[in-house]
């Protein structure tokens, strides 16, 4: 599997940029639109992934492994975040029997 892409030509970086931006924006719109906490989480995951992809692309592009290392760490953080996020979701569900985000408005100015 080591050089399956032996002869492949790398796409110019601007493609990756636009693609990842689109993905990121879709994720963000998902967060803004959805009222269902679960889907919001998923959109956040999507946003994170688009960032990871772009990072990987830049890392390959600048021939510097740091990018990919960072992706790994982002994945770590994402995993931890999902774990805690879902448990919060479970608790809110238990409290007001729904995971509608609009109900969580007690912290008012």
């Amino acid at each position: 599997m080591n050089n399956v892409v032996q002869g492949l030509q790398l796409m110019p970086i601007s493609y990756y940029i636009s693609f990842c931006s689109i993905l990121f924006v879709i994720g963000m719109i998902g967060v803004l639109i959805k009222r269902n906490a679960l889907v919001i989480f998923m959109s956040i995951e999507l946003m994170l992934n688009s960032i990871n992809l772009l990072l990987a692309a830049f890392s390959v592009y600048h021939n510097d492994p740091a990018g990919q290392i960072l992706v790994i760490f982002i994945m770590v953080v994402a995993a931890a975040e999902v774990a805690v996020g879902l448990s919060i979701l479970v608790v809110t569900y238990r409290k007001n029997n729904s995971i509608d985000v609009n109900l969580l408005n007690q912290l008012k100015g």
Binding site: G7, P12, L86
Partner: protein, 162 residues
């Protein structure tokens, strides 16, 4: 030839991302998201970042999505009554998204997009990643493990019923 692969993968990813938002039932959106993750893994492979691709599939598609499904099924959230935000909220969200997209692209366009280099860069390979990970980034790696521990304890504590 690579162009076609890239575009199909991108198209598929965007389609599935949109479907995640549009789909009525949460289960569908989870499945579409998993599909999207696979396309992203494809991209990794294109970039010859093989270690990342594998880890990506295991961590995201495997672990996180399973967690989502698990929560979904456990709390029986798979109910159809789609909670709708007001039209105004959604329109502003889309406009905001669009604006952000435009600005992101405009900002990043300024980069010196030098020409493509040969695909077979080796940095993505597992051995290389491993070497770097355990040399310069030893401390963050250990910190990450502590982070995981904290997250696990947190998750358990939060959900435990007295």
């Amino acid at each position: 030839m690579e162009k076609y692969i890239f575009f199909t993968l991108s198209g598929l990813a965007i389609f599935s991302a949109i479907m995640v938002l549009v789909s009525k039932r949460p289960v569908h959106s989870v499945l579409y998201l998993i599909l999207c993750f696979f396309t992203i893994a494809g991209h990794y492979i294109m970039l010859n970042a093989q270690f990342l691709a594998v880890v990506h599939i295991i961590v995201y598609a495997g672990a996180i999505m399973v967690l989502f499904l698990f929560t979904l099924m456990l709390l029986n959230l798979n109910l159809a009554n789609e909670l709708r935000k007001s039209i105004l909220a959604r329109v502003t969200a889309v406009i905001a998204g669009g604006l952000l997209l435009v600005t992101l692209v405009a900002v990043l366009k300024g980069l010196d997009a030098s020409g493509p280099i040969m695909a077979n860069t080796q940095i993505g390979m597992t051995t290389n990643i491993g070497k770097v990970l355990f040399n310069e980034y030893m401390f963050p790696f250990e910190a990450a493990s502590v982070l995981f521990l904290a997250a696990m304890v947190g998750a358990v504590m939060m959900v435990k019923k007295e």
